[in-house]
Homo-oligomer: 126 residues x 2
Amino acid sequence: MSGFGPDAVFLADCPARLTVELLADKWTAVVLYGLSEGPVRHGELIEMIGGISRKMLTQTLRRLEAHGLISRHAYAEVPPRVEYELTPLGATLIDPIHMLTEWARAHGDAVLDALDADHEPLAHGD
Amino acid sequence: MSGFGPDAVFLADCPARLTVELLADKWTAVVLYGLSEGPVRHGELIEMIGGISRKMLTQTLRRLEAHGLISRHAYAEVPPRVEYELTPLGATLIDPIHMLTEWARAHGDAVLDALDADHEPLAHGD
DNA sequence: CAGGCTAGGTTTCCGATGGGAACCGCCAGG
DNA sequence: CCTGGCGGTTCCCATCGGAAACCTAGCCTG
């Protein structure tokens, strides 16, 4: 434990840890990705993402807004219309997220394979 | 909901979602990063990371192992010694994770600034 | 005019999850 | 024989996440 080099950046209390934990949510990355092509409404995100509850979506959006990654535009119409949009800061996160999806596209298969091998280790004679 | 383009890859039930959710843990990315420079022992990870409990570390390591991203080497010694190491598959994740840390290094400041502005919106006259 | 509809958000309730800390097993050494 | 070091598990509790009902507010329909 004596010398992890300058790469230890995100193993302690540095801003990197904060940011990684900001993204380390089940929904954060997905929501950001959902906004990557332009303003999207609350209800659209619900349908796009699939599996997220209103509560968690709102909560995630609020957090991203508080962190300056997205902006919220509420139109005083009836029925109410609310659109969310990436800020320039939030837009800079799309590239890293794309890298993750690219990784998934390339290696997701291998991960599923490993998972399968691990779940049934006695399927062929223990 | 009619045409999000081919980029909708990870908004549904595709493998990308699975993988993103695999990483969407408070500790997963940090642990992988901690292993990025070679085999590391359980206790070393505890000290490197700081804030993680034994339970969560073990749990995270088990999951990563099940997904084929790391391998576990237990030496029948006394006191027990257990080392964890990235598999070749796991090593391919280091690049994407580095992108996140780079992003954090570049924009973490802006995020903290936005957070601060949001937390005290009435600090200068409501 | 009353009730229902839409759409975003909040509240309530409950099951799942995460963290802390104590405990376990193992064996060498004092 | 008791302690100490290390990896891991168990127990307990606080928090979180999800489902679904409720709320607001104005238009439309009956």
